[in-house]
Structure formats: structure tokens, C-alpha cells
Symmetry: C2
Subunit: 155 residues, 2 copies
DNA sequence: TTTCATTTTGAAATTGATTCTCAATCTCGA
DNA sequence: TCGAGATTGAGAATCAATTTCAAAATGAAA
């Protein structure tokens, strides 16, 4: 029996889902796309295109930035990644397959990003929207500040 | 007795506050700054620099965009305006003097922006931060969707 | 009010993230 | 194997915002 490197279950699933999504719209599978997608799903956290590009070019230095941008857009359209626009200018992507909705805590010192879910806040948001006759499609809740470690470091 | 044009109470107060803020740091009062600040506080809502520049150049066509950018940065540093980064790329500014903290509902169809306050949500956010040992400096809560009017228009 | 160090200004150049363009190169079904 | 159509990488273009720089304005002191 062959030993296989451990890998997030979602990585394989994501590649499969992407393959059918690509096929279903007349797009084509390419070596570059595979490598980018594989690299993305092998990482954790919230990656900027720049950070992802670094990891990608480490494996194949001929891959250009434009292709990474294009691929992340496809992953997003396919619902396999989601784009986050935190403060700081760059878009960051996180894996979205089989993930619950969640919001973020962002440390403005070290840049680390923490996730949280809070059903009560969601309910209250829905109520606010309702009071205004709004039909909400998406929302953004981000808490910025100092994480525990950075507070202690600053003592 | 002289009749004076009606004006938001905050406008005059803001100009005054800005004057002392400017004086306190060795900056200088200028005609351009006055005009930009006056224009800004005479408007309501969430203005982009572009929109503000339009109003400003209508009164003095020689004023450049860089000066508007610079002036809004000063107003922000002085705590008299606050910068908001909604989806769509441009920064929008709103008057901040004597204003309570509030969050936003943004209509993705007509672009209108509505404000709301919700003390319960704030409390829950504080609790989430506490659970993570986070010291929050600021946060962002934005609900995107269709406003009432746009929903009806689409029927 | 003149002087003059300092700040401010407008225009144009620059930045940084992202998107677009285009010719060359792939992909995949017939 | 072919060939229509998709994809690629490099560099140009875009867009908001910032920076640069020489000329002009400000305001405190003389």
C-alpha cells in the first residue's frame, strides 16, 4: 500500500469541484492552474496574491502574477475561495469549501487574523436590516486591534 | 441685527476646532483649506474625494485634487471627519464632530448609505474580543444589499 | 511693512494593487 | 492529428492615493 502525504480533505475535494466547474463552462485545465490551486489549498489562513505568488513561483518560477490573479478569481466564482478586503489594500483569499460563515479579528500589529462565529450578532444584523426594509446579500464584520500576544509583547 | 444664513451648527464648530488644531501644530491657515472644509461641512452624507472635488472646483476651479486629499487627511487626523472604506475602491468621508459611533447599510444598486446604531451588537462584539484576549481599537460592520426602494423598483 | 523661514500649493510623476492587451502557446473534442 | 478557442506571461494600462518639486503664500519677528 502506498503512503500518501497528509493533506487537508478539502484540498482534493476542491480540486475535483473545480475540475467539474471548469469543464461545465468550456474552460480548460492547465498545468499552471493546477499548481496554483494545489498551492492555495495546501496553505492555511488568509493569503494575499503576493504571498501566494511567492509560494507558487517557488515551485515554478515561470508562472506570472496575472495568472495567479486570474485563477483566484475563478476559484472565487466557483465558490471555492472567498475574497476578503481587510484594511491594508490587498485582497486576501481563504478557502471556502464546506465552511460556515464567520467574521474576523485582525491584529493591527502582527497582522494575524482570527475567526469567530456569533449567531446572536447575525440575528441582530438581520433584524436591523429588516427594520430598514433592506434585503442583505452579504456583510462584513471586522474587529481591529491588538491580539493577546502583541499586548503582552508591548508590556 | 444681521441675518445669517442657516448652517449646520457643527460646521462652524468644526472650523473653529480645525483652526486651533492647525495652530497647535505650526500648520498654516489657507484659503484653499478653508474653502474645502467649508464645502465638506456644508454637505451631508458620505462623500468621496472625487465628489467633494467637484463641489470644491465649482467654487474655485484652481484647487487641485492633491489639496483635497491632503485636507481630508488633516480633518481626519483632527478627529473632525472619518474615513470609511466601503466596497468599491474609493474612500468616503463623513463629518465626525459630536457624532455617535454607528454602522452602515449600503445599497449595492443605488449606492445610498444608511446608518444605524445597535448597542446590543456592540456589546456582543466586545464580548467576542474579550474571549479572544483582543484589545479592539476600531471595527467595521457593514451590511450590503438592496434598499427598500431598489427592491420595489426591480419588481 | 518688510523679511524670510517654513508651510502649502498645483501639476505631474509615482506608487501599489489589480486588470487588460496581445501575440505565442496550450488544450481537447472531432 | 487538427484547429477552434482558451490560456499564458510580460508589459502596458488603470485607478485611487501619495509624493515630488518649484513656485507661491503664510505669519512671526524685526
Amino acid at each position: 500500500m502506498k503512503r500518501v502525504a497528509a493533506r487537508k480533505p478539502s484540498a482534493a475535494a476542491a480540486r475535483e469541484r473545480l475540475a467539474s466547474w471548469i469543464a461545465s463552462r468550456g474552460l480548460k485545465a492547465t498545468r499552471q492552474r493546477d499548481l496554483i490551486v494545489d498551492t492555495f489549498f495546501t496553505q492555511t489562513g488568509h493569503l494575499s496574491v503576493d504571498e501566494l505568488l511567492d509560494k507558487v513561483t517557488a515551485r515554478d518560477s515561470s508562472i506570472g502574477a496575472a495568472t495567479v490573479y486570474r485563477t483566484m478569481k475563478i476559484l472565487t466564482d466557483a465558490g471555492l475561495a472567498s475574497a476578503r478586503h481587510f484594511e491594508g489594500g490587498q485582497t486576501r483569499y481563504e478557502a471556502a469549501l464546506d465552511r460556515h460563515h464567520h467574521d474576523h479579528l485582525i491584529c493591527t500589529s502582527c497582522g494575524r487574523i482570527f475567526e469567530f462565529e456569533n449567531e446572536r450578532i447575525e440575528e441582530l444584523q438581520a433584524r436591523v436590516a429588516e427594520q430598514h426594509g433592506f434585503r442583505v446579500t452579504h456583510h462584513k464584520l471586522e474587529l481591529y486591534g491588538l491580539c493577546k500576544a502583541c499586548q503582552e509583547r508591548q508590556q
